[in-house]
């Protein structure tokens, strides 16, 4: 190494030193320690005792773990496509020369600012069985359907019904999707108008232009948003935890991997088992991200490449 190069290296390392310390203490050490703890009986109060793979064997035979895993994956697989459709749809609507565009953008964005605690308590109230606003909006429609079809559909008691609790959480999430709308709208505004004009000259319909111009041009932004939502959805904790009053819902219908890690670590002080769960969550995140990166490589269109 040249002496100048050496000096540059030192300078660079000095500037990034806060991150190096943070990385070692809060990323690298915890990941390695998790692997060790997951092989131990560990309660924080005493020293970890080596167990081998016992925690993983227990995990395999633990129906609650499978429930948490299933809920987490189902939530991600349902909530992410729904919120993507909604936010792309809203952004496309907003991207038209309409009076009050800025006001609408603010309206759709505002819910994403609401702190988890306020959001969850508000939606606990919104989703209340008899008195909640959601059911009071749903009931007139159900009455019409019942009158027409002779059925007996009833508005659900969302958060107290194991079949509807996850749906209630997804509805809560859809309301808070505004951040993606802002990002998509910015993405749409980057698409050169000439592309649309050229497509229009070719006699394409609005829907064809959406499929063949908008979606490909927007695909890098969609890819980014989906990746971020995967990471976000898989670690969901605060909103379902508060929605259920600090629990996991009827029949554990709102138990997620993060919730189960929390319960094992801080309710049962079973840190070894919690670490095994944490590693499962980590592997799940890596796997789903890799899948979407793989898929993204094929489908995402980067202009200028």
């Amino acid at each position: 190494m040249m002496p100048g190069e050496h000096r540059n290296l030192i300078k660079g390392l000095v500037f990034i030193s806060p991150w190096i310390v943070g990385f070692l203490a809060f990323n690298l050490y915890p990941l390695i320690a998790s692997i060790w703890f997951s092989l131990c009986d560990y309660s924080v109060l005493s020293q970890p005792v080596f167990l081998g793979v016992q925690n993983y064997v227990d995990l395999w035979h633990d129906p609650v773990f499978w429930k948490a895993l299933r809920n987490t994956v189902v939530f991600a697989l349902v909530a992410i496509p729904l919120s993507s459709f909604l936010s792309i749809g809203l952004a496309v609507l907003l991207n038209q020369p309409i009076a009050g565009q800025g006001i609408y953008r603010t309206i759709f964005f505002l819910p994403s600012l609401v702190p988890a605690i306020s959001l969850a308590i508000l939606w606990q109230w919104m989703l209340n069985g008899p008195m909640g606003l959601v059911n009071n909006l749903v009931r007139p429609f159900l009455n019409i359907i019942n009158a027409v079809c002779g059925s007996h559909l009833q508005a659900p008691d969302w958060l107290n019904d194991p079949n509807f609790a996850l749906g209630g959480l997804i509805l809560t999430g859809l309301w808070g999707t505004g951040q993606a709308v802002v990002i998509y709208l910015a993405g749409l505004q980057e698409i050169p108008l000439e592309l649309y004009e050229a497509a229009e000259l070719d006699g394409t319909s609005a829907w064809q232009r959406f499929l063949h111009v908008t979606l490909p041009m927007l695909s890098p932004v969609i890819f980014f948003n989906v990746l971020m939502s995967i990471i976000g959805a898989l670690q969901t904790f605060a909103v379902p935890y508060i929605l259920t009053g600090g629990g996991d819902g009827p029949g554990r219908s709102l138990l997620f991997l993060a919730t189960y890690i929390y319960q094992n670590a801080f309710d049962y002080w079973n840190m070894g088992y919690a670490s095994a769960l944490a590693l499962c969550l980590f592997v799940l995140i890596i796997a789903l991200s890799l899948v979407s990166v793989r898929y993204g490589e094929k489908k995402v269109h980067y202009s200028g490449r």
């Binding site: 540059n8 290296l9 500037f15 990034i16 991150w19 310390v21 943070g22 809060f26 990323n27 915890p30 990941l31 320690a33 998790s34 703890f37 924080v44 496309v92 609507l93 991207n95 038209q96 309409i98 609408y104 309206i107 505002l110 819910p111 600012l113 702190p115 988890a116 605690i117 308590i121 508000l122 109230w125 008195m131 606003l133 009071n136 505004g178 802002v182 990002i183 993405g187 980057e190 698409i191 959406f210 908008t214 932004v221 980014f224 990471i231 670690q235 935890y241 508060i242 009053g245 600090g246 993060a258 929390y262 670590a265 840190m271 919690a274 670490s275 944490a278 969550l281 980590f282 991200s289």
Partner: protein
């Protein structure tokens, strides 16, 4: 889907108005409930507006939460420390990743990007053990000290901004014998004010909204943040006084809304650029 100016179809307008109303309804319902007397919150079918607004629901809800102002102070103090810590440290790190050339820089930056895939629930057990070992459980330190060690996302945002500043600026200063830290402090930082403000805003929101961190690291009630105080209110009361819960939820949301409306432009631009780079 970019029609010419004259041709926005009527159903687009109607759809936007309907969706706008739908998105505003929960806010309306929160405030409307917060101003009702208890018996009116229970009415079926629900009453849209309180027959006469009960403004004293707000002070009542604050009293029901216990030391409301102490919680507010704790939340503000943590938000303040986090903002200071992350703005300064993330800027320093972003500078090292954007305006200096050194061997291994891009590999390190890749590692930094990869850490964004490690969510807190994955690493919280060993981090808890770490703070336990140094005796920080039940103190504020776990909730603000890490902010001084730079946040990956903030570094990423600031780096984008620093890269857009012409290199010649630093070169000229270097030739004049300016130290690297002075270039950072006196030339680059003043130019980066909008980006720093964006990071500060994001961090304020993140700390104010944080729930899991305070939940596991704090022990005594007098250290609670507003989020924990509100959760305690939700848990302790039987018969659920929705008017108080809605009033308290509104109060916790209010500072965030005020801050947003004061800085709307910076805020929206900050969000918009995160997805485009």
């Amino acid at each position: 889907m970019k029609p010419t100016r004259s041709s926005v179809p009527w159903f687009t307008r109607v759809a936007l108005i309907l969706l706008g109303v739908l998105f505003l309804l929960p806010f309306f319902w929160m405030v409307s409930t917060s101003l009702k007397p208890l018996n009116e919150t229970m009415k079926l079918p629900p009453q849209w507006l309180p027959s006469s607004p009960q403004w004293n629901n707000y002070p009542d809800a604050m009293r029901a939460m216990g030391p409301f102002w102490l919680y507010a102070r704790n939340s503000l103090l943590l938000a303040f420390l986090n903002v200071i810590g992350t703005v300064f440290s993330s800027a320093l790190v972003a500078y090292g990743f954007s305006r200096l050339d050194w061997r291994g820089r891009d590999a390190c930056f890749f590692v930094l990007l990869a850490t964004m895939m490690i969510p807190f629930p994955v690493v919280m057990v060993p981090i808890y053990g770490l703070f336990k070992a140094v005796g920080w459980i039940g103190t504020f330190q776990p909730l603000w000290v890490p902010a001084f060690l730079a946040g990956a996302f903030n570094v990423f945002l600031l780096r984008q901004f620093f890269l857009s500043i012409p290199r010649d600026l630093s070169e000229a200063a270097r030739i004049d014998g300016c130290s690297e830290f002075r270039i950072f402090w006196q030339i680059i930082l003043p130019l980066a004010k909008p980006a720093l403000l964006t990071v500060a805003l994001f961090q304020f929101m993140a700390t104010w909204n944080d729930f899991l961190g305070p939940l596991i690291f704090l022990a005594r009630e007098n250290q609670y943040t507003l989020a924990l105080g509100l959760q305690a209110l939700q848990g302790t009361i039987s018969g659920t006084p929705w008017h108080h819960l809605m009033a308290a939820s509104t109060l916790v949301l209010l500072p965030v809304l005020v801050l947003f409306f004061l800085t709307q432009r910076t805020f929206i631009r900050g969000i918009a650029t995160t997805g485009l780079k």
